[in-house]
């Protein structure tokens, strides 16, 4: 018995090693998410007792009970929904910031994809020297970090007098070249025979775009929409530079400013904030995977 087990181990060394590595990383990857979730179910006194020391040292705000040790708790002593209750019913500021996030992200996703689908059709359907140069410029722009693009964004926003308004976040987001690049890559693969057939049947450009191209790209549009959504749901840099008024900040920025007196609430807010993207993930994981794979461009 023992011997055969050993033999089995030897034969399946790859399987065992692989599973061990996968399990190890799975635990590391899930730990922060699970901890955030379980901690959101603790009462505020429990949180203060556990982590008081952490946040009393990082913040100057509110008075908290400070414990000498930091105990990382996985499971609350008593499951309590009081944090959620407070966030949802008693402290409207969090919901307000959550709403800010929604207000920024939804129009950006919708209009960036609208603008990008049109542009991608323009890029993929007709080519020319000028268009190639423009497309190349899009790629360079897409690769630039915020440190570079925020300066031009800020100058224009100031010029248009939209600094400190929502437009300063919306407009650069809507015209970001990211989705254009991906969709163009996708549309270039639509076989020309399909389009030629439509042309022979007398379809004009708009009909080819709306009746042939769009339906064929539905999957791609969905996956790019997910990528754009995550990017902006997570935004930090733009509001810091373009919105001086903290009231207008999205929850992604505001969450880090929760003061020591409210850290227990912070966990509940953190969970609420990650629910929309996680729901999208549950619903569209395959789409997302496809979108990412496509970005690498190896999918044939």
């Amino acid at each position: 018995m023992k011997k055969s087990f050993r033999k089995w181990c030897k034969e399946n060394i790859v399987l065992i090693l692989g599973t061990a590595i996968a399990l190890f990383f799975a635990v590391l990857f899930l730990l922060p998410i699970v901890l955030t979730f379980t901690n959101s179910l603790m009462s505020s006194s429990e949180i203060a007792a556990n982590y008081g020391a952490v946040f009393a040292t990082t913040d100057t705000g509110g008075k908290v009970f400070v414990s000498r040790t930091v105990t990382l708790k996985f499971i609350p002593d008593m499951v309590s929904f009081s944090q959620y209750f407070t966030v949802l019913l008693k402290s409207p500021e969090y919901l307000f910031k959550f709403w800010n996030s929604v207000i920024y992200v939804v129009p950006i996703v919708v209009f960036q994809l609208t603008v990008a689908t049109l542009a991608a059709y323009g890029f993929s359907r007709f080519t020319g020297r000028v268009k190639e140069i423009i497309f190349f410029a899009y790629i360079i722009l897409m690769l630039m970090p915020y440190q570079v693009t925020l300066v031009p964004n800020f100058l224009v926003s100031r010029f248009l007098h939209i600094v400190d308004t929502r437009w300063a976040i919306w407009l650069p987001g809507i015209f970001s070249p990211f989705a254009v690049y991906l969709l163009t890559k996708f549309m270039r693969r639509i076989p020309s025979s399909v389009i030629e057939a439509a042309q022979i049947d007398g379809a004009n450009e708009w009909m080819i775009f709306s009746r042939i191209c769009l339906p064929l790209c539905r999957g791609a549009i969905g996956s790019i929409a997910i990528l754009v959504f995550i990017d902006y749901w997570n935004m930090v840099e733009q509001p810091l530079i373009l919105l001086a008024d903290e009231e207008m900040h999205p929850l992604s920025v505001f969450l880090s400013k929760i003061n020591a007196g409210e850290i227990s609430l912070a966990f509940a807010v953190a969970v609420i904030y990650m629910i929309p993207p996680l729901l999208i993930f549950l619903y569209g994981e395959d789409n997302l995977v496809e979108g990412i794979s496509f970005q690498g461009g190896v999918k044939s």
């Binding site: 990857f29 970090p145 915020y146 880090s256 850290i263 190896v298």
Partner: protein, 308 residues
Amino acid sequence: MKQLVIPFRKTEKQNKPHHADKRTGKQRAISWGFLAPSVAGVFLFFVAPFFVVIYYSLINNVVRREFVGLSNFIRTIENNAFKLAAVNTMKFSLIAVPLAVVLSLLLAIVLMSRIPMKSTFRSFFLSPLMVPVASVVLIWQILFNYNGLVNDIVAVFGVDKIDWLKSPHAQVAIILLFLWKNLGYNMILFMAALASVPQDLIEVAKLEGANDFQIFYIVKLRFISSTILFVTIMSLINSFKVFREIYLMTGDYPYDSLYMLQHFMNNTFQALDYQRLSAAAILMALVMIVIIAVLMKTEDKFEKDIEE
């Protein structure tokens, strides 16, 4: 077939639809109609102001507008905060990017091997991508606190307790957060690439007596070299975005070793020093372009190697 990474290259041209040649003047006009909203927006918000940025970087101030040559650039490069930020950002990228590439490749290989519950593991590895950084920052602060779990773990190896985020080792905490967030994304890219290695290529290698190890090193790695490049570029770009994580964890004034280029930009924004801001933005754009060009050149060489 290897339709790759940064387009505007030979492969893209082959993909050009044939019917494009037959375009008429009218069609040309229509195509610009499709492009107009995007091109106008990109021009207004990114391209045009960038010329203003270049202009600003060459004058002494917005009121007097005298050309001062490169002195703004020199002033920026010699600025201590800029130096610190540049060195820190470079250090971070030098460590984080190779780790992000190698570890995600490892995860991809593991998920491509015959282990149970592959799709579950894939979801697990991918989930951090969806979680907003702001949501896990609290946990990170707790883990890396002086009395936190990480110190308990390193204590097993006889290492003294430190307050991670306020120590010269602060970057460790951020690198781990960066990896946590980005490995899944890279892994998917690698999985797609590995799945596209043609089976007959592997068969041939087997016939020639290659073992699994050799197949991996000689056949697969070569075949996915363009993906390795793409992942490297994306990780590099993402590593420049790590300010987000640092800002959420430590606020406006982090420990010295965490002071990044975006912190420098934020502070310069607050000081409204447009000249320095512009010069810094241009310097960074140049560095990015050089890095990407070098990586692309390397990849071109690689591809030629394979063709030979």
